[in-house]
Amino acid sequence: MLELESVDAYYGTLKVLDSITMKVDKGESVTILGPNGMGKTTLLRTIVGLMPARSGRIKYKGKDITQWPAHRRVREGISLVPEGRRVFPYLSVEKNLLVAAGTTSGGRREEDSLETVYSIFPDLKAKRKDLAGNLSGGQQQMLALGRSLIQSPSLLMLDEPSLGLAPIVVKSVYQAIRKIREGREELTLVVVEQNVRVALENASRGYVMQHGRVVAAGTSEELMNDSKLKERYLGV
């Protein structure tokens, strides 16, 4: 599904991804852990094409996508819910969704996909004429998720979906993520998360990043029970 072969990425002369190699299979749910500033966000941005990979290769569904622009990767089914949600503040909720759907309202298919999103996030339906900038943080996160969902992605990547949200809202965000996965066995999920416990509960495998490198990898259980690892890298 997704393969990275010794991918390097830089901010100017600063190396932020150092020879990242990883492989994610179809239908898997994988989390990427590690303290702040260790390259997790950069990794997702490089996979979706917002950051160029200076060297190495990225393969998706068997195709080499390393040189593809971001919009082409998105149209091929890679979707990123970015850190900080990044909804379009001056567009209504519904128009935010329609931009993502790549169509305008009116058609039968668009109505269907809008309804699918609204059935998972009923709050959004009630607010669909409101400007996205006027939603609460939790509602904006739901909208950002809905925007990705309406693209019917094969690979869904979430960057810190719980950042800045109250614990009860975090719970409902993860409930929504589970609801999205129901009936979509093909959907592959990659989640970056600082909340280690929540992240491992919702993933089958994890990678731990430190200074732009992958320093550990394993199943959620292995990572959860590795006390040395947790102490050293995850601070729990």
Binding site: V48, G49, L50, P69, A70, H71, V74, R75, S79, L80, P82, R86, V87, F88, P89, Y90, L91, K95, L98, V99, A100, G102, T103, T104, L131, G133, N134, R147, Q151
Partner: protein
């Protein structure tokens, strides 16, 4: 009726400055080029200047596309100041190029209908103004529809609000930005073609309009087509009423007094949207 003149001038800038947030100081020169295209079109073909609209729109679309994709896009990440430098430079370049090519003499489009008037009840209407008014209503409506009811329009708005997030929605932001800039330039050219029969044409005619255009776009609320139209009408009413009672120069002072008052009372403009 002259409101339409200012309305039609501002619709293109609403797209470029109001929506894309590119401070395009060459917009007046785009308009000037549109006027010259119409002038030469009428001189060579002797057709009604209305037919030149398609030509001038096409010329300026190409010029706008080229300018944005080859030059402006290189500095678009560096904020507004380099964009201001670049568009001011283009504005100086275009007006000087026009002077070299066509000289600094005033030119008048030779048309028959400029003096035609007809009457609706007690109001006498000057024919060219009526055409311009109808056209600007049509164009404003078209742009409003494009921005709000088509996917391209949504993509334009999304790109303007957050280019990176727009890419994540599958939008080719380079193409969208270049096309909408080109469209704005084409709209300026249409305005130029419509105005050509009414105003003398000379290389620096754009600088006469540019200040009013920016005022109208801000007055109406950035990016709001309806607002630009109402703002344009309001300004033209103030200008023509004041030219009856005081002089036209004082009319400009009144326009800016009104502008400042409105910005004090409603900083987002007449129809601007705000996020609390």
């Amino acid at each position: 009726m002259l409101g339409g003149v200012y309305g039609v001038m501002s619709v293109g800038l609403t797209l470029i400055f109001g929506v894309l947030r590119i401070p395009n100081f060459a917009h007046g020169e785009f308009l000037m080029l549109g006027m010259y295209v119409t002038y030469w079109f009428v001189v060579f073909t002797h057709l009604n200047p209305v037919f030149s609209i398609a030509v001038s729109a096409a010329v300026l679309f190409v010029l706008g596309y080229f300018f944005q994709s080859q030059l402006l896009s290189r500095v678009s990440r560096q904020g507004e100041v380099p964009q201001i430098f670049l568009t001011v430079a283009l504005s100086i370049f275009l007006s000087n190029a026009a002077e070299i090519l066509w000289g600094s003499n005033y030119r008048i489009v030779p048309v028959s209908y400029t003096s035609t008037t007809f009457h609706i009840g007690l109001v006498s209407v000057y024919a060219p103004n009526a055409i311009i008014f109808a056209f600007s209503l049509f164009l404003a409506g078209l742009l409003w529809f494009l921005l709000n009811k088509t996917h391209t329009g949504l993509a334009i708005q999304a790109t303007a609000q957050d280019p990176e997030a727009a890419q994540l929605m599958g939008t080719d932001i380079k193409k969208v930005t270049a096309v909408s800039f080109a469209l704005g330039a084409a709209l300026a050219a249409v305005a130029g073609s419509l105005l050509a029969p009414l105003y003398p044409i000379f290389p620096t005619v754009g600088s006469y309009f540019i200040l009013l255009m920016f005022t109208i776009v801000v007055l109406g609320g950035l990016g709001d087509v309806k607002g630009a139209f109402v703002g344009g009408t309001l300004i033209s009413v103030v200008l023509s009423v004041s030219s009856i009672f005081v002089t036209e120069d004082l009319g400009f002072a009144l326009v800016f007094i009104m502008f400042i008052l409105i910005l004090v009372l409603a900083p987002q403009g007449l129809f601007g949207k705000t996020v609390k």
